[in-house]
């Protein structure tokens, strides 16, 4: 199961890549696999604020709908329209082309990052599930 080294992870299987004050968010390969064929995604709008671990969107698969939670607090600056049009790319490439939302991370997010898992910890975590 692919887990990317330079990302931070949540228990709910979201990942975030932080570069400066920009955070790119998506769901992990584990989540995509568990969900099965993703059929629909929906996000908060650009400009909306979100708190750490609060809902930032919804992802639906054939069988069910689940919420996606933001790994860090911030403001939505971009959403992946391609993923919304063709959600298959999330299954195909959950860490790259299937990214979901971009946020401007609030105040660097240093404190909040402590609540997230590093790659090795996430890898161990999914083995227990």
């Amino acid at each position: 199961m692919e887990v990317k080294k330079d990302l931070l992870y949540t228990k709910e299987h979201e990942w975030i890549k932080v570069k400066g004050s920009t955070g790119t968010i998506g769901i992990t390969a584990y989540a995509a696999e568990t969900l099965g064929d993703i059929t629909f995604v929906e996000f908060l709008e650009t400009g909306e604020k979100v708190e750490q671990f609060k809902r930032i969107g919804t992802v639906e698969s054939v069988k069910a709908a689940s919420d996606i939670y933001s790994p860090l607090s911030g403001k939505v600056t971009a959403v992946n329209a391609r993923a919304a049009e063709s959600p298959e790319i999330i299954n195909e490439s959950p860490f790259e082309e299937g990214w979901l939302v971009e946020i401007e991370v609030e105040g660097g997010g240093e404190d909040e990052k402590k609540n997230l898992m590093k790659a090795e910890d996430y890898e161990s975590y999914i083995k227990t599930l």
Binding site: G36, D37, T39, F40, E42, R55, T58, E60, S61, V62, K63, A64, A65, D67, P87, N91
Partner: protein, 359 residues
């Protein structure tokens, strides 16, 4: 969980399993969408061996079964099978099933896996001189569905299926056994249900799969396929508090004979009626979502999912009988789950899916 005779076959195909009616069943292999689309394009094989297969035998079997089914059993033509309901005194559906008259005094009944024990008790209690047997120890069912299904079965087993018409059946030599095959299924595609002797079941499964035109499909695809055709699922679209008339399935009720529940159907008003939903987006209505028409609570979604053929959500729902549906929109679900749908007829839904297939 119990295992079907095909469990190892599924495991080798790396199926993802789910508990259905106490059986470990394959939910999917390659993926629900791809299995679904392959069925509509080519041919899919389904393990449906968890379903109930009963035989009812007796001199008076036709009469006795006629008394508990909405089908006028004695009038079913030779070589034909019939979709029918068992109703309670309120006209509510105890189960939906297919009845196969095998010979005078002998009938095969195929019913849902989740209601096997209930059906066995219900029927036993109502038979007077006839006897019911559970054939599950000896026989298992598999479904082979898709435009290539006839050619596949003919080339794999050297049998001629052409004489079969929709909802007719015959006996064919398959893997050295006389096997009942019916032209029927739960997908809306040309397809067959095969009732196979357990001892040759895995061999038959592997032989069919060896044809390159065939892929295995799980319960996930089975559900999206039937939903696209507006076919009901017992436990969601049909239950003991829902009559066939409310479900829009009155044509499977033959009022020319007496049966349990007839009086209720003739005298009660509909408390709800079946409607079909087409989401205006990729968002799907789901089982249990409340419906809102012009802002007012108007019913609930009984079945809903994403339609791989239409790339939109589709659903079956029960709405207040007074609501005019033509050209109307309705909202399913609340809050973030809320999705806007058009109310359409079953015919419109099926036409949309069949048109999409050709693209």
């Amino acid at each position: 969980m119990e295992k079907t005779v095909f469990f190892e076959n599924h495991r080798r195909l790396e199926a993802r399993f789910v508990d259905f009616a106490g059986y470990a069943m394959p939910l999917q292999y390659e993926g629900i969408k791809s299995e679904h689309l392959w069925c509509r394009k080519s041919c899919a094989i389904f393990d449906t061996s968890h379903m109930a297969i009963f035989t009812v035998r007796g001199e008076k079997a036709a009469e006795e079964l006629g008394g508990i089914l909405t089908a006028n059993v004695k009038n079913i033509r030779k070589g034909r099978c019939r979709y029918s309901f068992m109703l309670n005194e309120k006209g509510g559906v105890v189960d939906d099933l297919i009845i196969y008259p095998l010979k005078p005094g002998e009938y095969m009944i195929v019913a849902n896996a989740s209601t096997k024990e209930k059906d066995m008790s219900w029927i036993s209690a109502r038979l007077k001189s006839s006897a019911i047997t559970d054939e599950g120890r000896n026989l298992v069912k598999i479904d082979v569905q898709g435009p290539s299904s006839e050619d596949v079965l003919e080339s794999v087993f050297h049998i001629k299926l052409k004489p079969l018409v929709f909802y007719s059946f015959g006996f064919f030599m398959i893997a050295g056994e006389e096997t009942l095959v019916s032209y029927s299924g739960y997908t809306g595609e040309k397809g067959y249900e095969l009732y196979i002797d357990k001892k040759v079941a895995q061999d038959v499964w592997e032989k069919i799969l060896s044809d390159k035109r065939v892929k295995p499909a799980g319960l996930g695809a089975r559900d999206t396929l039937r939903l696209e055709m507006g076919m009901p699922l017992y436990g969601q679209d049909l239950d003991e508090n829902t009559t066939p008339l409310e479900a829009g399935l009155g044509k499977f009720v033959d009022f020319s004979h007496s049966f349990t529940g007839k009086n209720a159907l003739e005298t009660s008003a509909l408390s709800k009626k079946m409607a079909f939903l087409l989401s205006l987006s990729r968002k799907s209505p789901r089982h249990g979502y409340e419906l809102f028409h012009e802002g007012a609570p108007s019913g609930y979604v009984s079945s809903g999912s994403f339609s791989p053929s239409l790339q939109r959500g589709v659903g079956m729902a029960y709405i207040n009988p007074g609501i005019e549906t033509e050209g109307q929109k309705i909202s399913a679900g609340s809050g973030n789950l809320s999705c806007e749908c058009s109310l359409i007829t079953k015919k419109e839904l099926v036409t949309l899916v069949n048109t999409a297939k050709k693209l």
